[in-house]
Structures are given as C-alpha cells and as structure tokens.
C-alpha cells in the first residue's frame, strides 16, 4: 500500500475559526489502467478527498461519491476516522458538490449543501496548492466499485493519516516534546508516558500551517479499530420514515410536471406531432418537442402522463425498422464466422499456440453461448427537476456522475458551465444507468422551453424502452483436453468488447490460449450494467469450464481447483465455498449444486447454488457466497452488497431479456420485464475472507458468478445444459418462472 504517494497530492490549510483542512488529490497514472477510461483527459484527477477538523473537534469527510445505497459514505468515513484516530461519533460526511475542480472557489462561492456553505470549507486562507491539485477534475463518478478502492484507500486513509501526523507534530511543538512521545486516540492527542492530553481542535490551526508529509504512514491492519467493524450505516434512519430526498422528491416553487416519449426505434426522429387533443386536457401547460422526443408539461404528473397518451406522433423511418433480436444473433454468428475464416478478428490475448493445437486435435470441444440485452430498471424511474433564471440553470437530480452531468447539461444547452448548478440527490438505484446525463439534459431543455421550473419524470415504460443496455453477446469456445482431461488449448471468440479488459480472461492454468473478438454493431444503445463485461463473460467462461469438467469426467469443483495451483488466493475462496456448501454431501433426486469463481473489480467471489427441479418447476434454494475483497472495511456492508449482487444477477438469469422487435424494445414494465421477488428468493449465506491483498470493490463482484453457478446447478440436477439466458428459453424454466 505504499505506492500511492507518487500519484497523490497532499495539502493543508487553515480555515476561519482555526479549522484544519487536509486535501488529497489523486492523479491517475497508467498503473491503474482499469480506472483510466473514466478520466477524460491527461492531467485530470479522478478522486479527491478533503477532511476538515473544526474547532468543535468535529471531523467532516468530503468526498466525491454519491450514495446509491451501497454504503460508500459510511465505509469512507470509517477509513478516515480510523487512520485519524478520531471518535466515530464525531465524524460526519459531506458529499462534494458538483463543482469544477471542486476547489475552484469562485465557482464554489455561494454553493450551499446540507446547510453548509462550501466556501466556508474552502475559505480564503486555504492555500492555492489544493486548487491546483484538483484543477480540471471533470469526473466525479460512483461506479466501477471505485469508492473503497480509489477514494478510500488512496484518498480517505491518506488524508486521515496525514492529518493525524500534522496534529501530532503541532502538539509536539506546542508542548515542546518529541512527536515520538505522542499518540492520537479518540479525537485527542495524548502524551504516551505523561499527563497531557488535548482534543485535536486545539492544534488544528497550528497543524494547518505545517507542511504535510507527502507519504504518511498508514496503519497496519492489526492497529485498525474502526475499519473491519460493521458500523451501522449513516443513511439508513432516513430511509425508514420516508424522509430521504431522492431526485424524484425535489421540489421548487411554481414547479410543473412533465413526462416524455422518445422514438420507439433508436435513431428515429420525430416528423410531426398533433397535440390538439392533449393540449385541451385538464392541467396541460404545453406540449413540447425536445430533440427527437415529445414531452407534455402539466400541473401534475398524472395529467401530464394521461395527456401524453393523446399526442399523435409520427416518427421517421430508419434502417432498423425491421431489426430483431434473432436477426442480430444471426448477424453476430455470421460476422464471427467471417472473421474466423478471414483471420480478421481482433486478438485479445494470445498465449502458446491454441490454433495449432486445435487444428491438429482428434477431439475439439466446441460450445456457444448467448445472452440478451438487459435494462437496469432502477427502482426510482429516471427523473430530474430543472429551473432557469435568465441564463443560468439549476438542476436537481440523483446521478452517479454529478460533475460530468453538469458539463453535459452546459454543453447541450450551449451555456457556460459556470451557469449550471447541480443539486445532487440520493439515488433510488444506479447500477450504471445513472451515469448517463440524458434525463437531466431533457429536463433543462424543457424548463427553458416553457419558462417554468419543470420536474421531468420518465414513465417506467420509457425507462425500460430507452435505457442504455447491457449488450446482447454471443461467445464461442473451442477447447482441447490432454490425456489427463486438463485443458491444453482454449479458444474464445465473442462480440462486443467493453470494460474491464480482463473480463473474458480465465484464471485457470491453460498453456495455449487464444481470445479474440469481432465487432458486430447494433443500433441498441450501450451502457454499463452492474459489473459491465463481467456480467456476460462470467456466465460464458464459468459455463464452459464446467462443461470441460464433465467432458473430462471430473467433479466441477475439483477440476477448477486442479487448475488453480498457481493462484492460492483463488483456490482458498473456491475451497471455502465448497466446504461451506457441503459440496461433497450428495443432494437428493432432482436437486443439484453448481459452482463458479469470478474475479472482478479486484475482488474474488466463489458461489455455490443449490436448486431443486421438480415437475419442471425450478426452485433456487440456497446460495453460498465466499468473497475475498482483500479487506472488508464493513463486513456487514460487504455482505449486503453480495446479497444485492446475487439477487440482481438472479433476476437477469431467471427472467432478464430485453428483446428487439421491429427495431424497438418489446418489453415495457415489470409485468414483462420482471424482477426476482421475495417468494422465489434463495437463502443467501456470505462468508468473508480477508486475505489482506489489494483492496477490491464490493458493489459489482457479487453479480457475474451467479448465472453460471445457477445453470451449472441445473445441469447437475437434471442434465440440462443452459447456454442461452434467460433460462425461460428452456423447457424446465418456462413452466415455473
């Protein structure tokens, strides 16, 4: 953990009233390649963290992450409090406002959040260095399981440790003793062998004038007092009494309500619309064209939505008016075959000579798999409230990327970014969907068009039909086994490569590997969906390795284990899952267990699913999850994320399908795009291994392994191999789910 300093800036300042401010800016280097795509340009900074210690000894953590329910804020506060040796009760949390270079204080001036003026945090006594450190930061995203991995380890912990050292140094000079004779505990500086002790606040101002150590010492895990403990989440009390303010709950004086309809076929435009009937309806303020969509503005959402149905819209024809899911899957297969024949695919990884081994083998095991498009269906439909005053625009919304959204609004409206203020709200789910600024831009355009504040709420139908989808993907494998049944060669070709790059790679020891891909574009918009490419490749690779185990006549767990001798950490996770699930104890007739292993976002997860298949009725009985995130800062928070990732992935495996018919999405709401409900949810048991390796993410790694563990279990129970999701495509599933 000592390497971060080369990428970080630490700076200090003294605020009015003698408060200490410590800032850490993280500059991205090549080393963190999985984060690099999130940064727009050279010199931009991905994460920034500030810590303020006030005269009242209260510690405020200021970080750029939005709360989607993943408990990020609590976990980050834990990291800070522990390194600082603050009292947990004294630590509070403030989400950084969506301000350019957050520290660019002319912009920050006048910004108010949670009753706290940001300029009070970034007062004039703060030296300019911090502003430099975070200048041009345009990305402030919560996604990619980044909060613990990047902001936490590289920002919060460093900020806490740096502040602690500064306070000790300031106390040492005040008391005229060596810093080595002092320590920090529970928000106080204490003389180790002496009498003296005083709260942090007494030294805050003096500490702010010192030069920070560019590489403060982080605690050894044995010294953790708050990290590694399950701390009740700070955001939960407001979520049980209806007071949490989600974006959809925002309101301003004189606000009108709107709903919108975009062209059913992606890429179509609006030719004309007839709004005469709609405009005559109760409460309707206006019917407005916004780009290629039509919106109704009314005095209530209900009036807007019933008038929306009365607008006759003529959409243009497109080249995709007859596109269908089946047509696209045929296209994928044909494009892949063409690339294979011509050797024109793109090489992803190559090791040994798989092509040669396969060409000369007596027996080649070939399989292909497919997954459909998926929508996110965040529980809170997309929405944003916008208001214009002259040329300046205020937007209230919940976004995974506040600063990026603000810039996107400014660009779309062709106003200066300084004219846009974004008020961030809690999100009723994100899952990647709320990284897109589309709804906020529409709301801003609507508010400008009608000259009134407008709250735009998408119907669930609009949400399902105008998402940015997890792509449909086809993946083909060819493998050759050696005499012992172990894979000698592994070839994998698929369509659509996005992030993370390593998603299709397997950890198993295979001497000859060739992974390549084919571009086969569709007109369906792409978006990051929980765990991104892992969501499909986890299913593909963990299904195929399972098939190879059966081909080799081996137990699927033992087979994987054999191939992981070089990766003890992976093996430990797999072993623990098998043990916890009593892998070796046979289940009765019609029952089966399936196993999977997936590393994603720096975290290892093994899953064992138990199913019962009786009369075509599938029951998912139990899921055992073993997770090694390096270190679990909040074990209960991590457990909740695993439960969440499992249910999200099960929903997709059991029911999830967005299908394209005549160029448009065929599904529209939860009746035909269902979600797993409590009555069919399995028991989920989570076990944590703290290997103390590099700290990984929590929000996404629970999802990718669940589909293959499920379909592998179905195979074990009944011998039906599922190679296409969702499983409703197969006899056994259709009767029940």
């Amino acid at each position: 953990m000592g390497k971060w300093t080369r990428r970080a800036f630490i700076t200090t300042g003294v605020l009015g009233g003698g408060a200490l401010l410590v800032g850490v800016g993280l500059r991205l280097g090549n080393r963190n390649s999985e984060l690099a795509p999130l940064v727009a340009a050279e010199g931009e900074h991905l994460v920034n963290a500030w810590v303020k210690i006030g005269a009242d000894n209260q510690v405020v953590a200021i970080v750029p992450h939005s709360e989607m329910g993943q408990g990020a804020q609590t976990v980050l506060a834990q990291m800070l409090a522990d390194e600082l040796d603050a009292r947990w009760e004294d630590v509070s949390f403030l989400e950084a406002p969506a301000e350019d270079a957050y520290a660019n204080w002319t912009l920050a001036k006048g910004y108010a959040l949670a009753g706290m003026k940001v300029p009070a945090v970034l007062e004039d006594s703060v030296n300019g260095l911090m502003f430099q450190a975070s200048k041009a930061m345009k990305m402030q995203i919560t996604g990619g399981s980044l909060s613990v991995r990047a902001t936490g380890v590289y920002g919060m912990r460093v900020a806490g440790a740096a502040a602690r050292e500064l306070l000790i140094e300031a106390a040492a000079s005040t008391w005229q003793v060596s810093p080595a004779k002092l320590t920090a505990r529970d928000g106080r500086i204490i003389e180790i062998d002496g009498e003296r002790s005083a709260p942090f606040a007494e030294f805050a101002a003096a500490a702010g004038r010192l030069t920070p150590n560019p590489s403060p010492t982080l605690k050894h895990p044995d010294e953790f007092r708050i990290m590694g403990r399950s701390t009740p989440r700070l955001d939960i009390p407001a979520k049980v009494n209806g007071t949490t303010q989600f974006g959809i709950d925002a309101s301003v004086e004189g606000m009108q309500y709107a709903t919108i309809q975009a062209p059913p076929v992606f890429g179509a435009s609006m030719v004309s619309f007839d709004a005469r009937r709609a405009k005559a309806m109760q409460g309707v303020v206006d019917v407005v064209q916004i780009d290629d969509a039509v919106a109704v503005v009314a005095n209530s959402y209900w009036n807007a939505s019933r008038a929306m149905r009365e607008v006759d819209i003529t959409w243009s024809h497109t080249d995709h008016d007859s596109s269908s899911s089946q047509g696209y899957f045929n296209q994928f297969a044909a494009d892949m075959q063409r690339d294979r024949a011509q050797g024109s695919s793109t090489v992803d990884i190559e090791k040994g000579d798989a092509g040669n081994v396969i060409a000369n083998a007596e027996k080649v095991i070939s399989r292909s798999y497919q997954v459909p498009w998926l929508a996110h269906t965040c529980m809170e439909p997309m929405n944003a409230l916008a208001q214009f005053n002259g040329d300046s625009c205020e937007v209230w919304t919940g976004t995974q990327n506040p600063l990026g959204t603000k810039h996107a609004i400014a660009a779309a409206l062709e106003v200066d970014v300084t004219q846009v203020t974004l008020h961030q709200h809690q999100m009723g789910g994100g899952f990647g969907r709320r990284a897109k600024p589309d709804t906020a831009i529409q709301a801003a355009k609507l508010a400008r068009a009608v000259g009134k504040p407008v709250k735009l709420i998408w119907s669930r139908e609009e949400d399902v039909q105008h998402d940015h989808y997890r792509p449909a993907v086809r993946s083909e494998f060819r493998a050759v086994l050696d005499e012992a049944g172990k894979p000698l060669a592994w070839e994998n070709q698929f369509v659509e490569k996005h992030e993370p790059a390593e998603a299709p790679y397997v950890p198993y020891a295979v001497p000859n590997q060739y992974v390549h891909y084919t571009d086969s574009p569709t007109h369906v918009p792409f978006g990051a969906w929980r765990s991104v490419d892992h969501s499909q490749h986890g299913f593909f690779t963990e299904s195929f390795i399972d098939e190879l185990a059966y081909e080799a006549g081996a137990d699927p767990y033992a087979y994987r284990r054999e191939l992981l001798a070089h990766l003890p950490r992976h093996r430990a996770v797999l072993d623990k899952a098998a043990a916890a699930a009593n892998w070796d104890t046979p289940l009765g007739e019609g029952r089966g267990r399936g196993i999977s292993l997936q590393e994603s976002f720096g975290t290892l997860v093994a899953q064992v699913v138990e199913v019962t298949l009786a009369d075509g009725d599938l029951s998912v009985d139990r899921v055992v999850v073993v997770v090694d995130p390096g270190f679990a800062v909040s074990p209960d928070g991590l457990t909740a994320q695993m439960e969440s990732g499992v249910v999200y992935g099960l929903t997709a495996a059991l029911y999830g399908e967005i299908s394209i018919e005549n160029g448009a999405v065929a599904q529209s709401n939860f009746h035909d795009y269902n979600a797993l409900r409590m009555d069919r949810s399995p028991v989920i048991e989570t076990h944590i291994i703290n290997s103390m390796e590099h700290w990984g993410g929590a929000g996404e790694p629970g999802t990718p392994g669940i589909a293959p563990a499920l379909t592998n279990a179905i195979y074990a129970a009944r011998g039906v191999r599922i190679r296409e999701l969702p499983i409703t495509k197969y006899e056994l599933g259709s009767a029940s789910v």
Binding site: G69, R233, S300, Y301, D636, A640, E643, A675, D679
Partner: protein, 166 residues
Amino acid sequence: MIELTVNNRPVALDVDPQMPLLWALRENLALTGTKFGCGIAQCGACTIHLDGAPVRACVTPVASAVGKQVTTIEGLAEGDQLHPVQQAWIDYQVPQCGYCQSGQIMSATALLASNPQPADDDIRAAMAGNICRCGMYSRIHKAIRAVADGGVAVWEPADEQEVRHG
C-alpha cells in the same frame, strides 16, 4: 373539494377524483415518502394503507379513499417513537438505496397487523408484490420475523471474520 383523512389529519384536495392517490399524496400533500415505481400495481413502491389494508396508491383513485383512513409511511411513527417494523429495519440494516422501503414497510406493517404470527411462507407471499431491485429480501424477511417473534431485534453483523494477514 375532496375531503380525506390522511395520517389522522383531515385534508381537502382540489383534484380530479380519478387521480391516483399516489400523485395526490406526493404532489398536493407533499408526502413524498410514498414512491412511484411502475404505475401499474406491479412493484409495490407506492404501498399505503386504506383503513389498515395495504393498497397500491398508483392505481387507487382519490375518490375511493373518501371516508377511509389513509396511512402513509410518514404516519407510521408515533411522534419520535418509530413503529417496531421501522426500528427492525434499522436494527437489521435493511435498506440499500431505500427507494422501495416505504412500500416494503407498509406491506410488512399491514401483514403483521392482520397476522401477528406469520409463518415464513406467509411472509414470502405477503411481500411478493414488493420488488426490491437492490435485492434486500433476506434482510426484509429477517426483520419481519424478528418483529413477529416479539423479541428485541438484535443485529448480528458479520464481524467474526477469518482474518489472515498476508
């Protein structure tokens, strides 16, 4: 004017009697704890009580609530005293994003009011109309179980972890 009783208070609404209660509560009465999720009685996010029975406010016209007691998530606590189900939601750290949780809590409180000792299958059946996209079903179930069993809810976080300092 339509006169209703919401959370024990009389209110008068000047809206179309066919307007779903969901929107009247959220937009006319500023009771935004009740949530919109689907609009077609499929997700449960808008669950409220009409005379103690759980209904989907998104498909319940304002007119049908006349003369009945409307209870929303905002009306569940008595002053500072949370309803035991709300307290159990905190004790078991149930919410993730929290968006579905008003509806979940309203379904759970209605269940326990009519069936204080539900079997596990009763809980599953009664809660099947409430989707949680964050997948917190295990916790919801445990929290309801704890209230039904009458014990003081004890949160047992997964603190006992195998730690191998490598």
